[in-house]
Amino acid sequence: METPGQIRDRILARFSGAEVTVVTNPGPAAQHSLLVGAAHATAIATFLRDDPVLQLDTCSNVTGVDWPGREIVETVRQPLAPEEDADPAAPPGVIEEKIKRLVPGSLEVVYHLYSVALKHGPVILRLRTADRAANVTLPSLTPVWRACEFQEREVFDLYGVKFTGHPDLRRILMWDEFQHHPMRKDYVEPDDYEWEPTPHDAVLTKARRHYPAPPAAPEEESTP
């Protein structure tokens, strides 16, 4: 099978102006993926499905991934301009500057494509939303692969990605009145939590939230 780089080059040759980049997977699995811009996603997916060399006729797996926005502190080193009367042998001075940069968050949808006819794969497509709040719209690939129908509904339910062109975009696992997207990293679950007999860190944190510290109690009434 072609490498992701070759597939990208062929897509770029076919669709001028498409945004396709290869996302390298540094792990031992080395399953690299293609990050595809939303504008051409449906056309590219159709191309991948119908291309005689690839024939990616089935979409095995559709997943959402939440990447919350995060702050990165970068240290920038700039050499000082050497002063005129400085010793030329001395090392030039360096200014260290810490720059805080906010990486915007995004929701990502990952598609694992396989070819049943030619028995190869996976080719991994990734689509990213612009942010996590207002611009969470992506084109649906259900018209290309029916396999995406329920899985995209699941991504909509649990991550809140809105798929345009999906025939039946409703919540699938949670009930319709539910207002949150529970698989997002910043989801706070309802406080229906009680003490567990074998607490560990996560349990202790929850228990502290559930049972706030008592007001300063008299000595004799304090519980063990």
Binding site: S60, N61, V65, F150, I172
Partner: protein, 391 residues
């Protein structure tokens, strides 16, 4: 088709949507909510069925009644901590779920597996396949209205396999047996002898069962030509496992991916011709026969050696940042795990690719134009387990 239907100009060819029209002989459409508590839905599954008389004109599955937040829990626990949860995904087939998850983590961390462990995995996966397909045959017959008896035969054999699982892993259903880089316990020679006895006797059970069921006229009348699935739709809709192969599509991950040591084994992949419910039943019976062959080869050739890689790390595993998608041919289809690691002790993203959930994509297509009683049988032949559908 009834006289009224002919008057209304309805065509009841299978696979076409029948629409109600305004005429005095034709009744209204009836919307029925089957489930989540319904004896035929294999758990808490719900189908919103619109009926024209007895004919299904629309069918929308409703999910989520067993959504136990498996993926969220998986992201909040360690890699090893998710292993017992995978048992509870498809609770009939804990061994194959374990294997799929172990395979994904091994891909993620580049962990090799010793030879004996690979053989043990194949032995247990094929025993699981026997177990699952036997139960399916029982439940499918139950759905056709054959109450009790075939299921009793099936569960009699299931208990024998569960005895093996319990002797090996300590639990009947929730085996929690695979580890990253191998298996948890080594079977004793007595266990292997008992497994060989069971495998050798299983063919006789299949003969007995098939003599009762396979040629049965009522079963044929209820299942042949019912719920036909076209191969191109099956591929496009991501159907996998016996459901895909019943349409005649040759796609078995044991052959395609060649994971584990399956390329060393000699076995055939049964394929169906019609893609109907009867073919889906027959595929399972034939697959059981092939599983017996694989088991006999594996039990004969089982090499000595360690069952887990000496350098394998299970507790406190922190794979390098990266991602991996590992999949195996489970009894219900392609079960896969998609993991993203950020270098921490917990997976950043933990995703299960549930075969029975995705196989349900084509449920409506198979049921349209059939009667509501056939919809029950078609659902039975898809072979779903709700723990995996809703996770």
């Amino acid at each position: 088709m009834s006289a009224a239907g002919e008057l209304a100009g309805l065509s009841a060819a299978p696979g076409t949507t029948v629409r109600a029209v305004n005429d005095p002989f034709h009744g209204d459409l009836l919307e029925v909510s089957m489930g989540p508590h319904h004896p035929s839905t294999h758990g808490v599954f719900r189908m919103m069925v619109t009926l024209d008389g007895e004919t299904v004109v629309k069918l929308k599955p409703v999910f989520g009644y067993l959504h136990r937040n498996h993926e969220k829990l998986g992201e909040n626990t360690t890699y090893l901590g998710s292993m017992p949860y995978t048992d509870r995904l498809d609770y009939l087939n804990s061994m194959t779920n374990n294997w799929a998850y172990a395979l994904a983590v091994e891909k993620l961390s580049g962990q090799p597996v010793p030879e004996r462990a690979e053989y043990l995995r194949i032995i247990l996966a094929e025993l699981t396949r026997l177990l699952n397909h036997t139960c399916l045959a029982g439940f499918l017959l139950q759905d056709t209205g054959c109450s009790g008896t075939p299921l009793m035969y099936a569960f009699r054999e299931r208990e024998h396999i569960l005895d093996l699982f319990e002797a090996l892993s300590g639990s009947r259903m929730m085996c929690n047996y695979q580890r990253f880089g191998g298996c948890r316990v080594d079977p004793t020679p007595g266990w292997l002898a008992a497994a060989a006895r069971l495998v050798d006797g299983y063919g006789r059970f299949l003969d007995e069962y098939e003599a009762l069921i396979t040629g049965n006229e009522i079963l044929m009348a209820r299942t042949q030509g019912v719920g036909v699935l076209q191969p191109d739709l099956a591929v496009n809709a991501g159907a996998t496992g016996p459901m895909l192969r019943a349409c005649g599509v040759d796609y078995d991950l044991r052959k395609v991916d060649g994971y584990g040591f399956y390329p060393r084994f000699e076995f055939r992949v049964p394929l169906g011709d019609h893609g109907d419910t009867y073919d889906r039943y027959m595929i399972r019976v034939l697959e059981m026969r092939e599983s017996i062959r694989i088991l006999q080869q594996a039990l004969r050739d089982l090499p000595a050696g360690p069952i887990i890689d000496a350098k394998a790390k299970n507790r406190g595993l922190r794979p390098k940042a990266g991602e991996a998608y590992g999949r195996i041919e489970g009894p219900k289809g392609e079960i896969g795990f998609y993991l993203i690691s950020d270098g921490g002790p917990n997976p950043y993203r933990y995703r299960v690719r549930p075969p029975s959930f995705i196989n349900l994509t084509v449920l409506e297509d198979m049921c349209l134009g059939q009667t509501v009683a056939d919809a029950v049988v078609i659902l039975g032949s898809v072979d779903i387990v709700l723990g995996e559908v809703d996770r």
